[in-house]
Symmetry: C2
Subunit: 355 residues, 2 copies
């Protein structure tokens, strides 16, 4: 079994920048919810049934051509920091980290695929990719689904489609979600209007870590709420051609508006963010993400070139609590973390600055 903590040295797929990016779409993700025939949904599963489900999935994976690329992690064997690390890297949900009982995740080492076992459904398969690349991701996920379906029997109903623990996932079991960076809409105050429009389109808008989390660092996950009545391809296409371009466009217009009407305001926010991160002696995660967000905006708007985007993207990930503690190889309370975080960021920004 691979060591989970080794992931910390990787760049994190969800923040990997592609050359074609405009910096607004951070990453694309699609997941499918599946359940095995012959077992109750998880809220009614006994401990031994959960173990059995986990074994069946592991056997199926090991028997498939995926075996050589994947490593399986049983969450019961992980310490709290390691679980938190997987959450911070968007490889498992917070819920999956925090519940009890036999459960795990199969990971591809490059972090583009994770298959959660015994989360809300028996299986949650996700493919993740930096930037805006829903088609490619959907092809990979569809393929993965086929390979597993060859070895496992999924609960399927002629009329309803795939059956899931929560009725909102019944049918295709698909959730397309795109992580977007929308700082200008936040500054101009238009973000609420965009969200209302999104809800009218039956989309969900969530924070950095999904359901119930805050929109830290101006990162928003936009996802479909509707899994019935449309094919997977239609849902993906809807995101590709309508939802994401439209929200991106709002953000771009907000940036233009700021550039035209309040250039001093944005410039000041961006430069102050750099100043704060280079000088603070103690800083919490929330403030760090907010400041990094302004710097990212400044870079994308071409207002600064003192820092490179890779450094900033990397800091979004590595300044978080579990990352910080694993990188420095010690457990720390939040005060000590804040001090170490400030030091860590300062060192990174001074190493990477151009002038």
């Amino acid at each position: 079994m691979n060591n989970v903590t080794e992931l910390v040295s990787g760049r994190g797929e969800w923040l990997k920048t592609r050359e074609t990016d405009d910096g607004i779409v951070i990453s694309s993700r699609i997941r499918l919810a599946r359940n095995l025939c012959g077992f109750p949904f998880l809220n009614r599963c006994s401990e031994s049934e959960r173990s059995e489900i986990q074994s069946l999935v592991m056997t199926a994976l090991n028997g498939s051509e995926l075996a050589k690329d994947y490593f399986y992690v049983e969450l019961e064997n992980l310490g709290p920091l390691e679980k938190e690390l997987l959450v911070e890297r968007h490889l498992i949900s917070r819920q999956h980290a925090n519940t009890e009982g036999p459960r795990g995740v199969a990971l591809l080492a490059d972090e583009t695929v994770s298959i959660m076992v015994n989360e809300e459904d028996h299986l949650r398969m996700q493919v993740l990719g930096g930037g805006f690349q829903l088609d490619k991701i959907w092809q990979r996920l569809n393929c993965l689904d086929d390979q597993l379906e060859n070895r496992l029997e999924f609960a399927y109903h002629e009329q309803f489609g795939y059956l899931t623990a929560c009725p909102t996932n019944v049918g295709t079991g698909i959730r397309v979600s795109v992580m977007m960076h929308l700082p200008a809409l936040k500054i101009t105050g238009e973000i609420e209007r965009v969200f209302r429009a999104a809800r009218d389109m039956r989309l969900a808008v969530r924070g950095l870590y999904g359901e119930g989390t805050e929109a830290t660092g101006d990162f928003y996950q936009i996802s479909n709420q509707c899994t019935l009545g449309k094919t997977e391809e239609e849902i993906v296409e809807d995101f590709r051609s309508t939802v994401v371009p439209r929200i991106s466009d709002y953000e771009l217009r907000a940036r233009e508006l700021l550039r035209r009407e309040k250039p001093a305001l944005v410039e000041d926010k961006v430069w102050r963010a750099i100043g704060m991160l280079k000088y603070a002696r103690t800083i919490n995660t929330q403030e760090t993400l907010t400041l990094l967000s302004y710097i990212r905006l400044g870079l994308n708007m071409g207002l600064i070139n003192d820092v490179d985007i890779e450094t900033i993207n990397d800091l979004f990930l590595s300044s978080q609590p579990a990352h910080l503690q694993i990188i420095s190889a010690k457990r720390m309370d939040s005060d000590l973390r804040s001090k170490l975080r400030a030091e860590f960021i300062r060192r990174r920004l001074c190493d990477h600055q151009n002038n």
Copy 2:
């Protein structure tokens, strides 16, 4: 007549640091209120009486041995920026700048003495000095008072002493005030307790520009409220030996407390202040003074040595609205001033930094 705007290039007596300073007492000031016999108090003076008073004082000054060192400024001849400059340098009160009618101020070029004519009283003579030096200041002021009294007849009552427009000044007409920098008491939240104690000692606590102004930059003016029943020397001695040492001691203890129990908090505030001032692209006076105050605290506590105290003291003065406009030789609205202020400070801090 000297040009008022030339004062801008001077260091400003009230912020001049002496070698013996602990950084808590910024400056010492004593003033005497006097009125001429044969004229009503100013609120009842006609315009021509005001002119006459002004002429009498100018003649007295010119006839005295003070003549060669002083220059007299008629405020009616000054533009609003020049008047504001005198306020920012603590050479006249805001009230004196803002009222109408014949009035002026006699100044010593080194800014240690100013004699306001037709402010609240016919004469308000003040001697000002950087640091804690009340004895020396009182000797000079007493001497000045004698010289003027040789040439002018002051309203004096056998029983009450010197008569003044406001009864709170009757008697000695003296106000001793010491400008103190009390950032640690502010951070620890003890400042209110100190102020209550000060009020019990019949002291007034005011902000940076005296009566009715805010305590910007953690600068507080402590002054006597009582001008009757004690001699001038007793009042001065009370400040010298009791009031100021006691408040200084509170501040020093607060600094020790911070150093011992919250070193990270202070260090963080100080470094962030440097970061903000070095990076902000727009900044108002209020925020500037707050940040400069933290840097001053950091220097006095020995937490930093990146900046020299002279630069910081100078910025307290030169970043203010009128100074900024006179230095850059143009009138600006507040938005433009905030941009220019940020640029000005950035340049100064980068010029003077050691590393």
